[in-house]
Amino acid sequence: MLSKKQARTFFLGGTLVTFLVFIGLTVYSLSIENDQTNEKNLTDAVVRGKEIWEANNCMGCHTILGEGGYYAPELTKVIDRLDQRFGGSGEAVIKSILMSEVPWQPNGRKMVAYGMSEEEAEDMVAFFQWIGEIDLNGFERIVSPLAKERIEN
């Protein structure tokens, strides 16, 4: 059976080794060669969209990249999904929801009326477009039936 000293060595050694491996993998997976996010397309509009996303805590209800509040729909492939549903006018639908002065209530579940300006709504659309192009290791097929068809074709 281990002595207390050996147990301490196990704790300190194991922690150090796994932490170093973790740092190595972090550097590897965030390196430019391994980019899956099309970082070159990260325009000022996308960054402004992300800031609006955060300033209004959209993640408190919606999910994006599968992370959020589980109260409102996943928005990772939202443009694709709404394009399919509204005959190709997904972006216009998103803008009208974000610019609306009255609460949007799909199926009775209320969303805050943000009353955004057209520029702000366009920044949000740019953000959703950029998110929608990220390679999510297969998750994009799960959250968008359209993406599934596209990948299979």
Partner: protein, 446 residues
């Protein structure tokens, strides 16, 4: 209680109780909103309620951990806390930061990043507050007569928790990188360094309650925290499967997060074995209930239910669904809420001198809150699994699925009512103990 300065712990625990009640209140607001009663939407929309609910959880647990440290460190270091007035100042500043953040959430003043919603200016106040706390604890420890493993592990957990708050403050333009480092805080807190804090408190309680030799308990403590880090650090990878980073995390995260239950299993076996081995039967049975309960429920909630959706093949479908809420509730309850309630149950009679060990109210609080929380977990689980099948497998619309599963939230609210009754009884018990007094000072048998 052996040192007068340990009394400061009481006020941290009192703050914890107050914030816990508020947390539950906001939980009910969300539960009712999910079954269609969102009458408060104008003032408290769901995203506000959610941010308040999760942030209050973090703040009341941190307040509990801090109280635990103020109680444990003087006793382990065998000296008074270096500066009691500063400890009270730290308590007040913690409460002020917490209240400012919570009020701000009602006025769209936040940083909408899941679990880390506290706006940046308040982040700096949090850092100052935690530095003050750590200074008091670490100086007391190093000026003390002895440095026990229990005290070192507890302090190390608190120190690392403070350091790991920093990556969450780094600004990133990319949502993916932002999310990547957000998990450095959230995952490495709850599946890493917080387990050190839990292990430290558990070790202290087992030494006091079972009378088993400190050397035996502390050796096991090293093994458990060793297993925690060995699996938990690389286990962070289970958050990276599907957020837009390299596939290598599917393998690394899959293997190491599948090992994470081992640390919790070791903790449960360790606690039960120490109880069986123990020759001293401490009269404070309620503290023993909460201590053993924390070790066992954390294994089920954090270990088993975490394992249930941690493999990438499963997580592909469960990622971003209510299955996560199922795991989250029982994990936080077992691992962290129950250990805080355990140290309160142990220390309260020692600080106030009122030995309400055989309270029926206390036992009812334990069983009602636990059964209520298990019921809530089952309700979330059924809703989550149904959501996975309907939405992810059969491609139904999100809101159509939400309507189908809303009945499970009626069950959730009923179980939450039972849970709340238990918590209220616990708080009545807390109140009945009265406030701490120097008359409760004793030199042995505490």
């Amino acid at each position: 209680m052996k040192y007068k300065s340990q009394k400061v712990a009481y006020w941290f625990f009192a703050l914890s109780m107050l914030l816990l009640v508020l947390q539950i209140t906001y939980g009910f607001i969300m539960g009712f909103a999910r079954i269609g009663f969102d009458n408060l939407h104008e003032f408290i929309p769901f995203n506000t309620a959610r941010a308040v609910h999760t942030n209050l959880l973090v703040v009341w647990l941190l307040s509990g951990f801090m109280g635990a440290a103020y109680y444990i460190i003087p006793e382990e270091a065998q000296r008074e806390l270096v500066n009691v007035k500063l400890a009270y100042l730290q308590l007040i500043s913690l409460a002020v930061v917490g209240v400012l953040a919570i009020v701000g959430y009602h006025f769209n003043y936040w940083e909408g990043r899941k679990f880390l919603e506290i706006p940046r200016p308040l982040d700096y106040l949090v850092v100052v507050n935690v530095l003050l706390f750590l200074g008091l604890i670490l100086v007391t420890l190093f000026k003390g007569k002895r440095r026990t493993t229990t005290a070192l592990v507890l302090s190390m957990g608190l120190l690392f928790a403070a350091l790991l708050y920093l990556p969450g403050m780094l600004p990133f333009d990319s949502q993916v990188t932002d999310s990547f480092f957000r998990w450095w805080v959230v995952h490495l807190w709850v599946e890493g360094v917080w387990e050190l804090i839990m292990g430290g408190i558990l070790s202290f309680l087992l030494i006091k309650l079972t009378g088993v030799d400190r050397e035996v308990i502390e050796k096991w403590l090293y093994i458990i925290v060793g297993l925690t880090f060995l699996s938990g650090i690389l286990g962070t990878g289970h958050h990276y499967y599907y957020i837009g980073v390299n596939k290598i995390w599917l393998i690394v995260g899959g293997i190491f997060s599948a090992l994470e239950p081992l640390a919790f299993l070791a903790m449960a076996l360790f606690a039960v074995n120490m109880y069986r081995k123990g020759e001293r039967k401490h009269p404070n049975k309620l503290a023993l209930y909460w201590t053993l309960g924390a070790a066992i429920v954390s294994f089920v909630g954090a270990g088993l239910l975490g394992f249930a959706h941690t493999l990438p093949q499963t997580n592909l479908y469960t990622h971003g669904t209510l299955v996560t809420a199922m795991h989250g509730h029982l994990a936080f309850w077992g691992a962290y809420a129950m250990i805080v309630l355990a140290i309160i149950s142990y220390s309260l009679p020692n600080m106030t001198g009122r030995k309400l060990y055989q309270s029926t109210r206390g036992r009812a609080a334990y069983w009602l809150s636990n059964i209520g929380m298990i019921g809530m977990t089952v309700a979330f689980g059924v809703a989550g699994v149904a959501q996975v099948y309907l939405e992810r497998k059969f491609g139904m619309e999100f809101m159509a699925v939400q309507k189908e599963i809303s009945i499970h939230f009626v069950v959730l609210v009923i179980c939450a009512s039972m849970f709340t009754t238990g918590i209220l009884l616990y708080i009545i018990d807390f109140y009945k103990h009265g406030t701490p007094t120097d008359e409760a000072l004793e030199t042995r048998n505490s």
